[in-house]
Symmetry: C2
Subunit: 245 residues, 2 copies
DNA sequence: ATTATTTGTCTATACAACTAGACAAAAATG
DNA sequence: CATTTTTGTCTAGTTGTATAGACAAATAAT
């Protein structure tokens, strides 16, 4: 469908090399250039985008830095990564999704704290503002490449040892199991997009300014009580969110 | 929750003024600065973001250009727009969603053509590649402000007069009704994010380089036959996509 | 009426981004 | 083996981005 063609937008606050990099990223994610495929030559791309070859080189350089592309002198430039599908439904579990696609999941704890719930968190968890909540900052990776950075809030009184349980297992599902939550489901998911902030960019190994998908979700237990409010940031190009109805 | 604070990322291909503009946009969409609220002064913002006042001014200027902000000399800078929720589920209809939020929907035909289905479209519609399909390029607005730009494909033999019917009604639901489709449902929706291309940016009145949400969806009739494949691009900040499970 | 605060406009300077052209080095082609 | 294609490196000039400071014009506060 969408050929790699068309004007870039000059002087709009986004450097040309970055626009080209994002375009190539999107094309790779969309399968225009599959795994191990050869990209058009730098001269060819420069012609298509109507920019100087050096500008294309900088875009390719940035993607090579992220191990998305690999450039071989005399041979060409090749695709070195595949995107991953991320289905969202009633029973969304990070590790299940990744394992199903025959890849290696991994989660680690970046930070945690206990704090008073602000208005948004309180509303989502159905508790009074100011109630104690546990905040978990986590980072989940696929095949060692960071994919999503999430902030989760849990009612503190219900899950006293949650931080330790997550740190040990690297999985929220398993950590909740230890607190007697055999099963939980997703109530709603809100998805938006924005440019990555410095903090997310660093943890997700993104060049700051790259696009992240933001997913805000509420999980409930079997009785319908909210047990988790999560805000996850996905590397917008390494993932495609799939909504099944 | 998220205060308007923190470092911007210098020299990452995205100009500081644009990063600040996107940050303010996100804060407005998230309700940190509600409708008609006053923003901190330029000097104050410059201090928070640790940039020169002129850089903040350029960011504000860009948002004012889009009628998201309004700057009054001597008084301050004010929020002039609200975001809209866009729920996705089994029965997603643009006009219903917008009307429910007490706003005025409007769709118009940008372009249309009949063409051979490429591999992706053929797969989604469950037809042979090369089969004739109708392509509709549409633009949907809320209160006169363009919100989403969509490309839809329909099997041509089944919907001969579809283009005229849409041009007349401004609604895909109504156009399909005339072809005997009393009801249809959504099979799956795939959501990704990228930087807006020149074409989308123009139609959505976005500064090129802004973020768009891309939603790819398949709609089926009561018998389960695919009748429409659509790729919609949303202004990433004027909308929040809500997934209900 | 005076003062302080806030946005608007101007000049000047430093640095990043983009373009242009030339040539080297490695690999594929015939 | 010679030729072509491709990525890598260098220099130089132009345009966009960000900083700094000063002052004007409108509004709000005292």
């Amino acid at each position: 469908m969408s050929e790699t063609l068309g004007q870039m937008d000059r002087g709009a606050g986004v450097a040309l090399w970055r626009q080209i990099a994002e375009r190539l990223r999107a094309d790779i994610a969309a399968g225009v250039y599959p795994h191990n495929a050869r990209l058009p030559s730098e001269a060819e791309l420069a012609g298509r985008f109507k920019v100087n070859r050096h500008t294309v080189r900088r875009a390719i350089g940035a993607l090579a830095e992220e191990n998305i592309l690999r450039a071989d002198r005399g041979r060409g430039t090749f695709v070195a990564s595949r995107p991953i599908d991320y289905p969202i439904g009633r029973r969304t579990r990070f590790s299940e999704i990744v394992s199903r696609q025959k890849r290696q999941p991994g989660g680690r704890l970046v930070a945690s704290s206990e704090e008073g719930a602000d208005i948004l968190v309180a509303e989502k968890l159905g508790i009074a503002p100011g109630s104690r909540v546990i905040r978990l900052e986590t980072l989940s990776a696929v095949d060692g490449v960071p994919l999503t950075r999430a902030t989760s809030w849990f009612p503190a009184e219900r899950f006293p040892g949650l931080v330790a349980a997550y740190a040990e297992t690297g999985s929220i599902t398993k950590a909740l199991e230890r607190h007697g939550i055999a099963d939980y489901t997703r109530l709603e998911t809100r998805i938006s997009a924005r440019v990555a902030g410095a903090d997310d960019a660093e943890h997700l190994s993104l060049p700051p300014g790259a696009v992240v998908l933001v997913s805000e979700a509420v999980n409930i237990d079997a009785e319908g009580n909210p047990i988790q409010f999560a805000r996850a940031r996905f590397a917008g190009d390494r993932v495609q969110i799939v909504v099944e109805s």
